[in-house]
Amino acid sequence: MTVATSTGSSSTAGYYGQPIVAPHVWEDTIGWYFFTGGLAGASAVLASAADIAGKQRLATHARRAAMIGLVPSPLLLIADLGRPERFANMLRVVKPTSPMNIGSWLLAVFAPAAGGAWILGELGRLPTSTRMLGLVGAVTGAVVTTYTAVLVTNTATPAWHEAKGELPYVFAASAAGSAGATVTVLSAMSGRPDPIAVAVGAGGAVAEAIASTVMQRRLGDLSTYHSDAPTRRLDRLAKLLSIGGAVGLVAARQSRLRTSIAAAAVLTGSVCVRLAVLRAGTASASDPASVLRQQQRP
């Protein structure tokens, strides 16, 4: 016979199944910030490209889209701080080892650039300055869409850290998708949906779905996208909305209504991707077994 082992003894993985590394303490607002930041960044890129290509109508809409993303970003960021009143401390130092710190500096450059470009663009004054500011916005904006990936992958959370190669692409694609979708709607409001925006939106959304699938594959037994129920649900939803939205955008043709619905789908999908990442992280860090698997990898 085998004598039942005491329940007082740590039979489950690790120490009574307690996490070995601490799960992140962030709220969904951070996921939303990843989204708005991505939207703003990618829109700025699109705006600048359109501006250079002389597509002023597209550029204007893209600059507006950037502002739509930009305005709430800091608010969302601050909202998640334990001591919001000390937000400014983010810029107390320049710290290359801290993606969050670098990100703050990026935003500090990106925001005025994109903002300036928007104002001048709306006023239709100083086209060269507008273009220069736009360019700065585009360069920083592009990084704004992906630094958040570095932020989460530079942690001890296995499902995050081990996705360091793929997550930036997921975020970049997702950002493009959301930017395209937003601009599509804006353009649709004032006339007909811009085909370039549609292309960017649909393309981004599809790329996002592909990238995140690849990421989950590479994560293998560290992926919590399937093992963890809430993550799985969000992930499925994200893919559904992104692909569906992409198809919708293309199929919608001139219809404002259908365009808006499709765009909404792409945007929601893009939000779900970010929230899924947060959930996946929580699940991953909470599971001592996955930390052990990660560390026992060759």
Partner: protein
């Protein structure tokens, strides 16, 4: 020890680092077991069988330290021919008197002489007296030299009635098989322990035992320790460095409270409390109480000095030094007797200081019912403890057995100052006095106990000031003039220490108890503490670090008596005064200096040569030879066999606890015949094996402490730091018992004894394994006793479960080995709770 004396335990770990083998004997696998080399799971209440087994092994294999045994123990003494051992009386000894349910110890005496117990109970009038043994001293030593005379003493240890042979016969049946069948200790494990202790004894090595209430809290508490004493003496481990038996005491200064006792039958320094039958005069008292040999011979000086300290000028030669002022005892007035007195209405008032009996005392329910019968109750504590709240918040109120409106007891709850708020000394395990200074003034109305009693005394004396009634004289004659200090007129505790230390004719502090006189010229509050303020210096306050002095560290605090760190240390040298070995040298005879020298203060007349022979008719210390190392014993020998002074036999004998799941495997006699039984409706006892209804309480119930909490809990259950660490009342059971009774980890269970039903969260753990006795498996339920209804965290009290059956020598309760049953789920509340208990009772 790791659980309850963690700070002291650091030295055990230190010893382990240096290669010592640490053995832990405990039914449960505790924090101590975790770091011990060997853990020996034992059935609660069977230590005598286990230690007896070891004694048997030592004698069987001639592993005793023979030279030591012959020279320093009473192994060679020949016992009266009337003596009959438990061997031949089914577990009883000769002298049993059914009419009184007690022993007459006459037949246990040394052949042809009487000896005086060096301590022990005198609450009956008839402590052995009679012919003084000055003569015996002589005989005894002739015996040693003239081989012809073997009438009282046989150094060859061959005489069939010599202690050594009696010992052999008595312990012969304590075989490893018997140990396994009684204690549940497997043979291999027993052998391992036996080998370890034998290897660690002798000239080169020593071993020591530490114990606390796992040995004392039994109906055979004293005999448990006696068994260890026999073993250690046979192995030559007494009076030598690294040897001994350490009583790990409990409350801070609980040692101090036996030295300067809160015990009814003792005066300070273990002077027996006068008994009504001891006669009215000091002479009669001394006659009956003082033996003529050993230091007890100075009893007169100690007693007179004590009376001078207490009554000052009112104590004169003509009035017998006010000896008449001392109260008399007429029998057993111990705690539990007093509780019965409350129930019977013979005790009206009750002072509770530094105690919380409503949670801490065995059969707490009986205690609470008793307090409900009091006229008044005074509780001094830090907060409203259960004892002060029993009249409106207690299980009895909840079940309706007591109704607040029926309780007439007037309860006074007074705020006490804590040890940090007053200065004073603690006396710990090693008889070491350590002084602590007040850190802060007490808050609000809190006052020290010293302040309280001093003030109370002043008020009483004021009321009686004009009284002419002789019965008031003792109170009025007391010296009650302590200087006070601080914002609250706190009596100066240093002044109290000064009185305890004592002074000579010129009022200057005495430096040693040897200065005490019986002519009224000296005053001393406690002779064994005499010298703690030598030269007017507060010796207990000394704090010289160990690394700045010898390894014995004589300048850390002050140890009684005479700052001696190891008692009977004369035995650390051989009969000729030469250390048994270089490795273990401690105190030895220096021929050049013609005195005893060494690491410690010699526990011997410093200039008495090893070859000193007492002249015929010598008295007092003079009657002790240069080899009589155990100077507190009337015959100067360590007593393997106790000819007088014990209530339950001259030799330890395994008896089952009052409540036990099994029949005594060793003797017909089931439990301690001399046990003090409390046969009352408030104290129902489970049937013994064979009796009807015995199977209703199939499991062994044992109670204990956890590191995170302290005793009855008031000091820890109000500290969130500790509550966080150990938040809830729980009980511990083995996976096997859990399976048997359907108990689930962390669920509630109800534990039922003949007295009560309590609930606790279940902790299923391998740390409390079932014990196999032959073909029988004994399951245990372990319960910490820290919880009650007051404080930050509350829970049922283990003590509601326990029944009373007391050790006859010291009247202590058994908290370690009782019986119960355990079932899943929470207990019923209200009257249903009471009914549940009654349903289980046969």
């Amino acid at each position: 020890m790791a659980e309850n004396h963690p700070v002291g335990f650091q030295w055990v770990m230190e010893a382990k680092r240096r290669g010592a083998t640490v053995i832990h004997v405990d039914p449960r696998f505790t924090r101590t077991s975790a770091v011990a080399d060997v853990h020996v799971p034992i059935r609660p209440g069977t230590d005598i069988a286990f230690l007896g087994g070891l004694i048997n092994r030592v004698l069987d294999t001639d592993s005793d330290f023979r030279e030591y045994v012959v020279a320093y123990t009473n192994a060679s003494s020949i016992i009266s021919d009337d003596y009959v051992d438990a061997e031949d009386l089914g577990g009883m000894f000769s002298g049993w008197t059914p009419s009184t349910n007690s022993y007459d110890d006459a037949s246990w005496a040394y052949r042809d002489r009487n000896v005086e117990a060096s301590s022990g109970n005198r609450d009956d009038g008839g402590a052995a007296t009679g012919e003084r043994a000055g003569a015996h001293g002589g005989q005894h030593h002739e015996g040693q030299h003239d081989e012809g005379q073997h009438d009282t003493d046989d150094p060859t240890l061959q005489h069939p009635n010599c202690v050594f042979q009696i010992l052999r016969r008595h312990f012969a049946r304590y075989t490893p098989e018997m140990v396994a069948a009684t204690c549940g200790i497997p043979r291999e494990l027993f052998d391992r322990v036996a080998d370890a202790i034998i290897e660690n004894s002798g000239r080169e090595r020593t071993g020591s035992f530490c114990y606390a209430v796992a040995w004392t809290h039994h109906s055979v508490g004293v005999q448990n320790i006696r068994t260890a004493a026999i073993l250690q003496t046979l192995l030559g481990n007494i009076g030598r460095p690294g040897g001994g038996i350490m009583a790990l005491r409990g409350h801070a200064s609980i040692q101090g409270s036996t030295d300067i006792p809160t015990l009814y039958d003792l005066l300070p320094g273990y002077i027996p409390m006068p008994h009504a039958d001891h006669g009215d005069t000091l002479e009669e008292f001394l006659d009956s109480a003082a033996a003529d040999t050993g230091h007890r011979g100075a009893m007169a000086s100690y007693t007179v000095s004590l009376l001078k300290a207490w009554f000052g000028d009112a104590a004169t030669e003509d009035n017998d030094y006010a000896y008449g002022h001392l109260p008399r005892i007429t029998g057993d007035h111990s705690t539990y007797q007093s509780i019965l007195g409350m129930l019977d209405g013979t005790v009206d008032g009750f002072f509770v200081l530094g105690e919380n009996p409503a949670v801490g005392s065995a059969n707490a329910g009986m205690h609470r019912r008793a307090m409900a019968e009091l006229a008044w109750l005074v509780v001094r504590d830090f907060q409203e403890i259960e004892t002060a709240a029993f009249w409106y918040d207690s299980p009895e109120i909840e079940t309706g057995e007591l109704r607040t409106e029926d309780i007439a007891t007037e309860v006074f709850l007074l705020p006490a100052a804590a040890h940090t708020e007053k200065s004073g000394s603690f006396t710990q395990t090693q008889r070491l006095l350590q002084w602590h200074d007040k850190a802060v003034e007490p808050q609000g109305d809190c006052r020290s106990d010293l302040w309280f009693f001093h003030r109370l005394g002043q008020l009483v004396r004021h009321r009686l000031a004009r009284s002419t009634d002789p019965r008031d004289h003792p109170v009025l004659d007391l010296t009650w003039d302590y200087p006070t200090e601080g914002p609250y007129d706190d009596p100066d505790s240093e002044a109290v220490l000064a009185e305890i230390n004592g002074w000579g004719p010129d009022g200057s502090p005495l430096s040693a108890y040897t200065d005490l006189r019986a002519d009224g010229s000296t005053a001393c509050g406690c002779w064994i503490y005499c010298g703690c303020r030598a030269d007017g210096v507060n010796q207990p306050r000394r704090r010289r670090p160990g690394n700045e002095q010898s390894w014995v560290a004589p300048e850390w605090g002050w140890a009684w008596p005479a700052n001696r760190r190891i008692l009977y240390n004369r035995a650390s040298a051989d009969p000729n005064g030469v250390p048994w070995s270089e490795r273990k040298k401690y105190v030895w005879w220096d021929d050049d200096q013609q005195q005893w020298v060494g690491e410690d203060v010699a526990d011997f007349q410093v200039d008495k040569r090893p070859d000193y022979e007492p002249p015929d008719g010598a008295e007092g210390v003079e009657a002790l030879a240069g080899t009589d190392a155990f100077i507190m014993q009337s015959d100067g020998r360590a007593w393997l066999f106790v000819p007088s002074g014990l209530k339950d036999g001259p030799l330890p004998t395994h008896y089952e606890p009052q409540e036990s799941p099994i029949a005594n495997p060793l003797y017909e006699q089931q439990d301690n015949p001399a046990m003090q039984r409390i046969d009352r409706p408030e104290n129902p006892i489970a049937p013994s094996p064979g009796e009807p209804g015995h199977d209703r309480y199939p499991f062994v119930l044992t109670t204990y402490r956890v590191t995170e909490h302290h005793t009855a809990g008031a000091m820890s259950r109000n500290v969130d730091r500790l509550n966080e660490l150990q938040p809830e009342m729980f009980c511990e059971v083995s996976p096997e018992l859990a399976a048997l009774q359907g108990l689930r980890h962390l669920d509630f269970a109800t534990i039922v004894s003949p007295r009560a039903a309590i609930e606790a969260r279940v902790i299923v753990t391998d740390r409390i394994a079932p014990l196999r006795l032959g073909d029988q498996v004994v399951h245990q339920v372990g319960v910490p006793y820290h919880w009650g209804s007051k404080g930050q965290v509350t829970g049922d009290s283990a003590n509601d479960l326990l029944g009373l059956g007391l050790d006859p020598n010291v009247h202590i309760q058994d908290t370690k080995s009782q019986v119960c049953t355990i079932v899943p789920g929470r207990r019923p509340t209200g009257a249903a709770r009471r009914r549940l208990v009654e349903e289980y009772r046969p």
